[in-house]
């Protein structure tokens, strides 16, 4: 029932688009609770986006067209990325077209456009943010890839859905190597999504900010797209994590009932992840920017360690 | 042990004398007497050549004997004496290796030369048993002299006594070279001497002395 797979694919993208800000809202809510502030509404991100969409756009005089198209490209790539990640089912038609390496490449492309756009206007903060973003990226990207490699070594494929499927099918529930990689992945996820301890989404303190610094010159619809893309990114990473480490409950074929179940399950998993994220952010303190590479280098080494452990098992 | 005919004994005696002369050259410091010794060498050479010529009856040896006489006994010494007088170089300065040392090395060289000549002597006609060895010895000794002397003039004398050694070798081993060659060689030596004469004056007017220490500017080490 091929058309069902197509339906599955379609639904998945829609869900990602719709639910991404929700996840963001949930994380912020949890954080507020943990820091016993009065929490913003769960829908706050949506309101933000709607507000931005009703404003006039202001562009710097020397902003080039690269600056203007960047938001669309970034948003588009994030949507496309969502299509590659098994969120509900593993029988995605898109699987054959792009594997995990392509996915990481896609993230990298988004990052490059973001940084270039940030450098375009040529303000102090923009370039500073771009540099820091790339600095985080050149360590986070290989780490993510390593994490995926470990999984693909176990499953003899680099296609994310198949990885997830095989992992779910495997008898052994907990792979020791996956423990290392899980930690590494968590660290990357924090770094990539501009979370404490690497970055603080809620600050505009120039010495510390990374992601916000790049958005400074954006306004209105561009800004809205950027925010939304950021939310999507978080959502995607969360789903990658789920696919790699708790792959159970994905619909192995596209029939509606299991799809429905999968949606519910996904919501549950995401809720937990969001809470966990908030917890980490509350407990840990923001690092100095110079320390960020060391943080990520640790993550990279952890991933490599995971790989070694895996190979050790194979060798034996 | 058959008795060696007289003339051969004479040739050998001359050979011995030749060796003696080159030794005395090695020890001699006065340039004028060096030249005289050279002339005596030439004389010995002539006599030896004539002896061999008389014995073998080769006409061209008589010729080369006369040539030798003219060139080495008369012309060259005369030329050198003239140069000495014109350039006022009578004494050689202290040689680079002192006389006894030079003599010692000389003795070693003679031993070596004789050893070297052994295989050839086996083949040589009985005329010239040890004269080959002596010829080699003379050549090497004059070589040594050229090394140790530091005046241009004495080097030239060394060079010429080397030529003498060569001639003696040629004469004693092979009763001289073919005539063409003999003439050519003689011509070469003659020209060489003339060139040298020119040289001496040029050097003299450049450095107003014939001391070879002036001729050490072209070198690699600095």
């Amino acid at each position: 029932m091929n058309w069902l797979n197509w339906l599955d694919q379609f639904i998945e993208v829609l869900v990602a688009l719709a639910a991404a800000p929700l996840l963001l809202g949930w994380v912020n809510m949890c954080r507020a609770w943990l820091q016993n502030r009065s929490a913003p509404s769960l829908l706050q991100p949506y309101r933000g986006i709607r507000k931005l969409l009703h404003k006039d756009a202001v562009l710097a005089h020397n902003a080039s067209s690269l600056f203007r198209i960047a938001p669309y490209i970034i948003f588009g790539t994030m949507v496309a990325a969502a299509a590659m990640i098994p969120m509900l089912g593993t029988r995605l038609p898109f699987t054959a077209a792009a594997d995990a390496i392509a996915l990481v490449g896609l993230f990298a492309a988004a990052r490059m456009f973001l940084s270039l756009a940030a450098m375009d206007v040529g303000t102090a903060f923009g370039t500073l943010g771009a540099r820091r973003e790339m600095m985080v990226g050149f360590l986070a990207e290989p780490t993510l890839l390593m994490v995926i490699f470990v999984a693909s070594l176990m499953t003899a494929t680099t296609a994310l859905p198949l990885i997830a499927e095989n992992l779910a099918a495997a008898q052994l529930a907990i792979h020791p190597s996956l423990l290392f990689t899980a930690v590494a992945f968590a660290m990357v996820m924090l770094a990539e999504n501009a979370r404490i301890p690497v970055d603080n989404p809620a600050t505009h303190l120039e010495l510390t900010m990374i992601h916000e610094a790049m958005l400074l010159e954006y306004s209105a619809r561009h800004l809205a797209l950027m925010e939304w893309a950021a939310a999507l990114k978080l959502f995607n990473y969360a789903c990658i994590g789920l696919a790699l480490f708790v792959p159970w409950g994905l619909a192995s074929n596209g029939d509606p009932i299991r799809l429905g179940l999968a949606i519910v399950l996904l919501a549950g998993k995401l809720a937990v992840i969001g809470a966990g994220l908030a917890l980490i952010e509350t407990l840990s303190a923001k690092l100095r920017v110079f320390r960020a590479p060391e943080f990520l280098a640790t993550a990279f080494l952890l991933a490599v360690l995971g790989l070694l452990v895996r190979l050790l098992q194979v060798a034996r | 042990m058959n008795t060696i005919p007289l003339d051969l004994q004479i040739v050998n005696a001359l050979a011995a004398l030749l060796l003696l002369l080159s030794f005395s050259m090695l020890s001699q410091r006065r340039i004028v007497s060096l030249v005289n010794l050279l002339a005596m060498q030439g004389l010995l050479l002539t006599v030896a050549t004539l002896m061999v010529a008389w014995r073998t009856g080769e006409t061209h040896l008589y010729l080369s004997g006369l040539l030798t006489f003219a060139l080495k006994v008369l012309f060259l010494p005369w030329l050198l004496h003239r140069l000495i007088r014109r350039l006022e170089v009578y004494w050689d300065t202290e040689p680079l290796l002192n006389i006894p040392g030079t003599m010692l090395v000389g003795v070693l060289i003679v031993v070596f030369a004789f050893g070297l000549a052994q295989p050839i002597a086996e083949l040589a006609s009985e005329t010239t048993r040890n004269s080959i060895g002596i010829a080699v010895a003379v050549i090497l000794l004059s070589f040594l002299m050229m090394i140790t002397r530091s005046k241009a003039m004495s080097q030239v004398v060394g060079f010429l006594s080397m030529e003498n050694g060569l001639f003696f070798g040629a004469m004693s081993t092979t009763r001289g070279m073919p005539m063409v060659v003999e003439l050519g060689i003689a011509l070469d030596i003659l020209v060489a001497m003339l060139v040298l004469g020119v040289f001496f004056f040029q050097i003299r007017e450049q450095f107003d002395s014939l001391d070879l220490h002036h001729l050490e500017s072209l070198k690699e080490g600095d």
């Binding site: - | 295989p119 083949l123 050549i139 060569l166 063409v180 060659v181 060139v195 020119v198 040289f199």
Partner: protein
Amino acid sequence: MEFLLLLGTPLAGAIWLGFFGAKRRAPDVNVGLSLITFIAACALTARVIEHGDVLVGREQFFIDPFNVFLVTLTAFVGLTTSLFSRPYMRIERDHGKLSSRQLKLYHSMYQLFMATMLIALTTNNLGLMWVAMEAATLSTVLLVTLYRTPAALEAGWKYFILCGVGIAQALFGTILLYFAAEKVLGNSGVDALLWTHLNQVKAQLEPSVLSLAFVFLLVGYGTKVGLAPLHNWLPDAHAEGPTPISAVLSGLLLNVAIYAVVRCKILVEGSLGSTLPSNMLMGFGLLSVVLASLFLWRQRDIKRLFAYSSIEHMGIVTFAFGMGGPVANFAALLHMTVHSLTKSAIFFTVGHAVQKSGSQQMDDIRGLVTTNPTIGWGLMLGSLAILGMPPFGVFASEFLILTTAMQQQPWATPILLLSLAVAFAAIFGRVQPMVFGETQGKRLPHPPALLPVFAHLALVLMLGLYIPPYLAEWYRAAARLIGGE
């Protein structure tokens, strides 16, 4: 007939120029004589190609595959050099470095030198060969000291004494050879020194005598080849003489000397049947290459630089002859050819470069291409060629030599290659700044004659890409001859 022309022209010319060498047309006469010589050489070559070897003058002179191409080469380079020296000497006189008397001397000696070399090449009589070699030395001594500067005198003196002594050893070697030959050929005297006869009976010659003879001959003629450690006269003489003489010295005289060595080697090897001569040649060759490449490293004077490079290449040739065998001999002959062509071309450009900058110090010579592109490119291409850069012919011969070395003397190959690399760094590092960069040189009073340069380089280039069949045949025949068949 050609023979008389070949040897007579330069002799007569030497005498004539000795009297009228200072006339305004004297350079042109010089060129004309060289041209006649060259034509004679070509005619002779043609004859040899048609009828094979030639023996003339009561067997005193002969042409066989080995010396015929050397004769042609000598005559050719002699011609081009005389062409080059026309403007060069004019400029020297305009710069007031030479009087007309010296010019007279120069022209007459130049022809005499050519004559002696041709005799040494063509004579069949080893004694005459010695005489000619000595004469060549004498005629060039006066040319080396032409400028009468202290340095020139010193160089001349060293040249005279060292080569004189060396040559004397060669004479003794010849005597010993004669001695041994007599035992076989009987006491007929005259033809006991004829190479052709010796070559027929070489197997019967007494080995012990011949080995001694070879040592003396090697040391004697080796001094003129410039084999280390007998080479010490060579850089001085090259650096202090007038440039055309440097060109013919390293382009031709060295060849002739090596020719003499090889002639003797053929006989001795035939008699000994041992590898002794080969080993000696290889030893000398290798030593020369290594030492020369190291000396190159610290040169400041441009002519000394290329003099040492000549030593290096003579070392390569000697090594190749030492290895022997058809390929190595072939390569060695080819290397002699390309080396003399290239090196003389280099000296031509160097001469003009020195005249422009008024100094032989390489630090004073700068930016040749900017003021005088032809000189600059000539020097650059020439140096690259002599350094064994393809597609020039030097690479072809070095390729053959190196590959043969890998085959026969593997241990020697790395040494050779390292020395070549060092030489490359040394020479090229010096040449580049002279050719490129800013300049302060002045124009020359007379237009330089650079036709010879590019003629030579073109030939070398051709030999690198394509060796005409008859030439190759020639080399092969010579190689066989040297191989002793």
